[in-house]
Symmetry: D3
């Protein structure tokens, strides 16, 4: 349908989209968007320590468990569509084929906005390589000469979602999104991540404190807009507007 | 009237608001805002070279001419209110009295957004000192204990308007505003600046090229929103939203 | 006593030291340090909104209440010595007299390390001006010609404690301190801040999440050093060591 | 001839050298330099939207048209030599073969200075990858063990020419070049770019405004060196001089 | 032996570890560490100009000479183990195989800390690519799913050692190490580098001046800790401590 | 004489100009410039530790000794004119009077270029305040309305000379000046600084290593311009040229 608004989240590993932008996903689904999540890998090698500590674990079993968790979280968030590109992790295999695959998805989705990781992450080069990959694919999707005849991409914003240690990544949010209305969905999605229970409260704390930042920035000591939970994002590209907010 | 939207521009010298945000002023007046412009000085010593080359020129005469030009430009833009604080220029006298005066204006206006110069300007320290002063006064206006009983300020955005050599100032616009509907007013205001005719075309070029940036960022090669003239601004504070654009 | 280790915290307003480094204070007191806290103001005008909303409030009463709260918090933390310089807030009066007063304190304390605010804070210029002031006074205290005959200051580290919105301030912690052993004291001190109850959980969340960062940086996915609560700091000066950690 | 001065411009797509440094090229040709332009691609897929909108267009035809335009522009500028490496665009194929090819060109040309794109470009990763590629090839060309016996490269400056949205790229010019004497040639070259007519005036505006920056930086309000048109560049490496300018 | 402390230095070319961290290596060997040095290449093509100027030189002979020099320097420093990965230089071949090789070494060594080059080096892209490679391999070595059953890596600090022109590389040391006790060993190692005699005094000067910085930062004008020679390093990751220094 | 070229160095304390730009001064005097040095203070309180350790020392005696040393150094360098503004140090008194005094000097000298400290110095706020002061005074000296009738200043470059710990100050040199021809004069001037003998070799090392940087940047491994001693500077403003170097 021509009027349907869409969004695309590019997540290096299967769980990243849950912690970092689960609220944005659930909220925009409720706002009528179709949100697509592309998981480049399952995080099967690098982000599944708990599973690997079990006897007789295999790569395929880890991938299966991780996929099920991610699918359950996506369901909890109401994600329209989740794709698993299975590119391997630690490191991701971001070659020409992966690029073609991702450009096809971008063109198919025609997202109003895109979302990915921070620009720098010395702890996890998969994350920053994913952002570089997202920019590269966005550019190709805009090229009239790439698969001529297909609808080319416009100029969607690329939002960078919150990394685990924000200050070390040089990530600076310039927009806070109120996710209070969908917090229950995000918490439910978080609880699908059985292998990373130590992070459940961490990201609940983050959401509460970003709620405080939302209130501060919307009103200061005079009392801002009430928000219990929020998420922060960094826009890479400038905005174009008809009125200053 | 309770619902009236307001804005406040703090301009180091009398002409700065014309070149740098004349479009934003005219546009928001048309959108129903009451825009107040506070000129800290007339730019009488440092930005009136042409006048000083005339025989027998005095400081008072320069100030008078500059005030008339600024008033004429403000009229062309439909500015609701322009205040001349006469703090002297090159350098500005930004002492405690000036602070009190500015805080009073801020509280009186209760601006939905504020606007001032870039954070760094090695060519013109008046400019960067004005931004520091604006932040300082914004903070005081938010204090419940400053003139208790007055209505305290909320948390308005501080937009930084375009400096003369953007890259040297470390200024990076993160929002472009389409000023096509009010371009004629801005050009008329520009032409009130008789003493700086060499800048008329410079800032027309800027507006045209920012229009190109507006188109690029709103649509890329797929064809963006049509905009002939635009202005760019850097937001200091993060935004708070209910939907990602 | 010659061997006594000392530390000095310079806090713009009366409550800053509680949220931002209460754990470091309590911990170092337990480690045998004498920690001195210098509050440049009570935050009486700008950080006491709740008090000002009461009928008939006066500046003196606000200062008195704020001093009592700060003193109670200091007691809870076991602070050795707290000084109130009463320099006014929003804005602070950081003139030559204030400088002399602070230099005297620095020389008297002879701190092994100092602590203050972030370098940049567009929300609160008192904070960044305090850091500039701390650097200035540290330099004067090192001068052999300032009050000749007094013991000059060595080269103590200046730690910058955590601001309210870290990313907006450009603050990047390069050291995490485990405050688990003294968390109860910090929470007790926090609860002395009756006027800012909305921040109690905020800073508890911060401490928990910094505990996670402590674990991550001490051990990664292999399991780091157990820490429930931590505080982060940014060192301005390089360290000098005899072995790499 | 031993004394012949040479320069090398590395352009990601066929048209980049025209908009961004056409003046520098024409001027240095007039100063007696032999300027070589290396176009890594024709911009056939990503920068030829207008051609792709024509019925029955093919990749080869786009490349042919783009090559003809670039050749015509090069002729207008008096370029000594233009090479088309045909590495594909969106994305460029910057592999080991491409590297060898470029190193051969660098060693053949032995440029007094080199020129390429900005270090960062989120809109167009081809641009920033080209700069990285230029640095890599410059390094290899300096290696005595690469094709031993060939003349190794000295230490030519790498100038970064002006990107389309300077502030978004973090590009900061530290040298302005007066191109007034060759402006007509640059405008003629610009007009060879039939497919991008919407940029003709944009880059004329840029040249005029950089002329203003030239005047400002050469003389300030006291009246600088007259320059109608200029181009800006960012030097990556420090200069070595015998007198300060 | 379980208690043995280990460290790992990743050096792009055979000589880098000598100039940049020879003191740290010798000192930690004396402190009881086993230090492993991994030389990715011999610097055979790009850093052996003097050898290539000899008649009839071949790549194999250059590599042999460079290996002997590096081995001699390692011996002078008391290096526990030096590995030559022979990945080629100018440019380094940092592919998947190289990655696997390096991850194996990291896991075998289980370093308490790691060390490599600066993040940016426009003169020598091998250097900055090595740092990126080190981060990538560190991440893989931490993955439980990489060669399951092997002992995974913890979270060792990555120190960046001093590049040749520090300011151009954006390198900022945040720790100085006193190498006075092992200076003789470092100088002896330096003198093993027969092909780069022009750098012997350069790096002696560096060590002396870093000694001055050590004294300054440990005591200021009041007289710091005596240090004749020092080395500086930049830590990428934050530290975790139980007491502030 | 109309054609006389002039330069102005603004030094926070009496000795700064010797260590940081003594070579540039001596060289430009030999090139026919008249160089004026303005010492804002003698460094009497903060940079005269050795003197203060003598019994019965007084502020006036310290100032006298420091003035004599600075004068002797100036003579050794062939400085045309040295002014002592006696503004006090630690901290400098940079008020309106000081400003007027400095603007008078700038206008009198009409420097082709100016020179001062780095933009940031957490060790010594006098240094960074001096740079801010220099920019402020440069701006006032350009104002046609400041003391109308006087010759206004053009747009001289402001060079920032080398601070003591370059990386901590965020100082990045973009020009190296060969001072080999005048090294003997600089060393002689350095030796006039009896109170800071511990810095003689430090700054000799700096000059030798900057000579290496000069050679590297003028020729790389192919062999650059021979330079034994050099000084580095950071230009704040962009250059305007007619040919790229």
């Amino acid at each position: 349908m021509a009027d349907k608004k869409t969004a695309l989240v590019i997540s290096a590993h299967a769980a990243d989209f849950v912690w970092r932008c689960g609220g944005a996903i659930a909220l925009h689904q409720e706002l009528g968007y179709d949100v697509t999540v592309a998981c480049l890998s399952y995080g099967e090698r690098g982000e599944s320590a708990k599973l690997w500590k079990q006897d007789g674990m295999t790569l395929d079993r880890v991938k299966k468990v991780r996929q099920e968790e991610a699918q359950a979280a996506a369901d909890a968030l109401g994600v329209n569509d989740i794709r698993f590109l299975d590119l391997g992790d630690y490191p991701l295999r971001l070659d020409r084929d992966a690029q073609d695959q991702m450009v096809d998805i971008i063109r198919e989705v025609q997202p109003k906005w895109m979302m990915s990781h921070s620009r720098w992450d010395p702890y996890n080069t998969d994350h920053m390589n994913t952002t570089q990959f997202a920019l590269e694919c966005r550019m190709i999707a805009q090229a009239w000469g790439h698969n001529p005849g297909e609808k080319v991409l416009g100029a969607p914003q690329l939002y960078l979602f919150e990394p685990h240690q924000t200050e070390q990544m040089g990530w600076k949010p310039n927009v806070f999104l109120d996710i209070t209305p969908v917090w229950d969905k995000k918490r439910a999605a978080i609880e699908c991540m059985q292998g990373q229970e130590h992070l459940w409260d961490f990201y609940t704390n983050v959401a509460e404190n970003r709620g405080n930042h939302f209130r501060r920035n919307s009103g200061g000591m005079a009392g801002g807009r009430k928000s219990e939970y929020a998420e922060g994002f960094e826009m890479i590209f400038p905005q174009t507007v008809d009125e200053l907010a």
